[in-house]
Amino acid sequence: MNLALSHFSAALLFAVFASVVFGITQRNTTRDQVRYGLYCFAMFVGGVFVAGWVMWLIRR
């Protein structure tokens, strides 16, 4: 079995699973858990785009 994901899809899946765990474990109420999970997901994906643009600038 050899799964070949792209860089972006691998980062996106990573963000999904890590955000679920962070949301559940770091907050107490269901509402806060959902909000924090979405916040973590946005930060992960936002970080991917920021890192991508930084690497683009370095490469120039």
């Binding site: 079995m1 070949a4 691998a10 990573f14 699973f17 679920v20 765990v21 962070f22 559940i24 474990t25």
Partner: protein
């Protein structure tokens, strides 16, 4: 005037149950990701944690990630082992089946290695959360 309490948490039997749960929940949660929440009847949280950690580990294996051994020799290998061992039963089964011992040959396999380590680290967080629930620190 003092009133007799009917709170079950204050009885010795209930305290004993709480102590045993504070040991059992983290232990079973480490062995089977999410099970520490399931034994405490946190069904949705447990299933979500289980799905996230198990899928992440399986994807890491599917991407041909490397599973570290305890006697790797290199300090980074030891740190990788600390991460991997967090996955508990998944790590034990994968080592028993001799999975993840190949050399990392391409970028996707390196991602797989990171998925495996992070799945273990996330399970450590899950275990700590199960413990906090068992001692009543978290609802």
């Amino acid at each position: 005037m003092a009133t007799p309490t009917t709170d079950k948490k204050s009885t010795p039997a209930a305290q004993g149950s709480g102590v045993s749960m504070s040991v059992v929940a983290p232990a079973i949660g480490w062995l089977i990701p999410g099970a520490g929440h399931l034994v405490q009847k946190r069904w949705i949280r447990g299933l979500l944690l289980m799905a996230s950690i198990v899928i992440m580990f399986v994807l890491g294996v599917a991407m041909q990630g490397h599973i570290y051994q305890p006697n790797g020799g290199d300090i980074l290998d030891m740190l990788g082992f600390v991460g991997d061992i967090g996955a508990g039963g998944l790590y034990i089964v994968s080592r028993a089946l001799d999975i993840g011992q190949g050399a990392i040959a391409h970028a996707t396999a390196d991602y797989g290695t990171k998925y495996l380590i992070v799945a273990g680290l996330l399970n450590f967080i899950s275990v700590a959360d199960a413990y906090h629930i068992s001692i009543g620190k978290k609802p």
